[in-house]
């Protein structure tokens, strides 16, 4: 599983469902671990000039035809797509640099990064819940999983907080389960609930308020300390 980067002066031809030709120039050729090959210029943002998606196979011919050799071509890369007749041909005139890296397993894109960050921020700014609130702990364990935040209000009564990026009905149900179990603990009861999210759907708000759970809208930017310069205060 290696990624191979080659900087080379090359020309590129694509044959198959579309025909394309790039005249010789200096380019970055990226061969990814899954076999895909991308040819980048020093512009055009994320988009390669030409590419072949996986599955495909790459063969490098170090001994090109005499005709090509005369023109200065040192290597011919042929990238054949496994399922179609598409073919990417890279004629390399000069290799300027070559690197290989082992990337290992990618952890993947973390979509709920904001949610974890919100928990951290709300714990740090626990008075967002109200004046006099104090943090008991984050990820307070219950038999059915940890509740995001357990805090105490100004009177010392416990408050369980469930955090979501977008607050839906399922989040309210989740908090209801935690509250039921937390309230069985005589050392904690009574435990009030706060459903906190950047955005709460109307149905979720109705359900939460009907169950006596307070809804709190969080402003991620304010919690992060980013203030809107165009505000009066």
């Amino acid at each position: 599983m290696v990624v191979q980067l080659t900087i080379a002066r090359c020309s590129v031809d694509y044959a198959g469902r579309l025909q394309a030709h790039l005249d010789p120039g200096i380019r970055l050729i990226m061969v990814k671990a899954d076999g895909s090959v991308l040819v980048h210029a020093d512009g055009g943002s994320y988009k390669p000039l030409n590419w072949m998606s996986a599955p495909c196979s790459l063969t490098i011919d170090h001994d090109p035809d005499p005709e090509l050799r005369e023109a200065g071509v040192q290597e011919v890369w042929r990238v054949q797509h496994a399922k179609t007749a598409d073919l990417l041909i890279i004629s390399v005139y000069e290799v300027l640099g070559r690197h290989e890296y082992e990337f290992g397993t990618d952890p993947g894109l973390v979509k709920d990064g904001v949610e974890a960050h919100l928990q951290e921020l709300l714990a740090a700014h626990i008075d967002t819940l109200g004046d006099g609130y104090t943090l008991v702990r984050r990820e307070y364990p219950t038999p059915v999983g940890p509740v995001d935040i357990l805090a105490r209000d100004s009177q010392g009564a416990h408050v369980a907080v469930e955090l979501k990026r977008r607050g839906g009905i399922d989040g309210v149900e989740q908090l209801t389960r935690y509250l039921e179990l937390l309230n069985r603990d005589p050392l904690l009861a009574p435990v009030a609930g706060v459903f906190a999210a950047q955005e709460i759907k109307p149905q979720a708000r109705t359900l939460a308020e009907d169950r006596g759970i307070r809804c709190l809208i969080l402003d991620y930017d304010t919690l992060r300390g980013l203030s809107d310069e165009n505000r009066l205060f």
Binding site: I200, Q203, L218, E229, R231, L232, F233
Partner: protein, 380 residues
Amino acid sequence: MRLQINRDVLSEAVSFAVKLLPQRTTLPILSGVVLDAAEGKLRISSFDYEVSSSTSIPADIEDAGSVLVSGRLLADISSRLPADEVNLTTDENGRLLVQSGSAKFELFTMPLDEYPSLPERPEWQGSVSAETFATAVGQVSVAASRDDVTPVITGVQIELTSGQLTFLATDRYRVALRSIPWEGQIPADTTALVPVRTLSEVAKTFAHADQIQIAVTKDDDHEMIAFGTPDRLVTSLLIKGNYPPVRRLFPETVANYAVVSTSELIESVRRVSLVLDRESPLRFTFNLDGVTLEAIGNEQAQAQETVEAFLTGEEVVISMKPQFLIDGLSSTQNEFSKLSFTKTDNPHKPGPVLITGQTSKNGEEPGDYRYLLQPNLLLR
């Protein structure tokens, strides 16, 4: 219950009660309206534990009685009845029969004994001209926040002192303030933070009356405001929390200002901002030639216009959101508006602009309406 009533009177009263009901309630009984017929009057009331309304309208009562029916259904029906005369009757199965011309409706009723009792008519603390009240609420409520992030600023803050009512609203980008006189004697100055939706509905509907009575009651766990006319009563719980101290944001005196024709500048802002992307600000240059509006930042089009402005003090370049400026200008309700440019200690942030009304170019400021707007950062 058996009575005859005028269709339009009924429809107006029911639709007002329904407007104040919550959009979705988890207690179906609270989506109902109560009809009470007695002594030549039909009283229509609604209550959701936060807001209550009751309206008395004249009716020919044959048999007195009370009934609870679906509010939205009765509102829809009464607005579309064919004849002017409407007969309301309850039958032995407890259903409400609505009959008008040849149209007949049967509505199922809900058990009245489970319905909560409405707050009572409190002792009034004073009264205010309904028309002035409606104007003030309209001028201020534009600036109230529509965003739930900070619930306290989704209300209009009413400050009650003996002789004067002051309305305040803000969404952090602007603050609107209006003071009006009232015939009120209260022992101690007090404030009431009222949901903007309820206050706007009250102002609109009560505007036909002559005077509006007001009372604010604060118990240990119960803070409420009541608005009343002889025929109507609305109560609302107050929004809890501390209102931000926005009054101190208003400057005392400002030496640098420009006077413009209100309608002319509004027209020009609307015109020039046609080429702007949503949420983009307009750029204003105030100098001795007038004020030049420039819409820049859009790649497909640009626009520019100059209108008359009488500048006192130095030249000013600022950028403001078109809608925020129009809200302030149109709320001055004067032929001329004065834009005062405040100074600021922060070199990276422009000072807020104060907008007030003026009766003429050099005329007096009525001074009871003030709108403070934070300009956007100038971007080149």
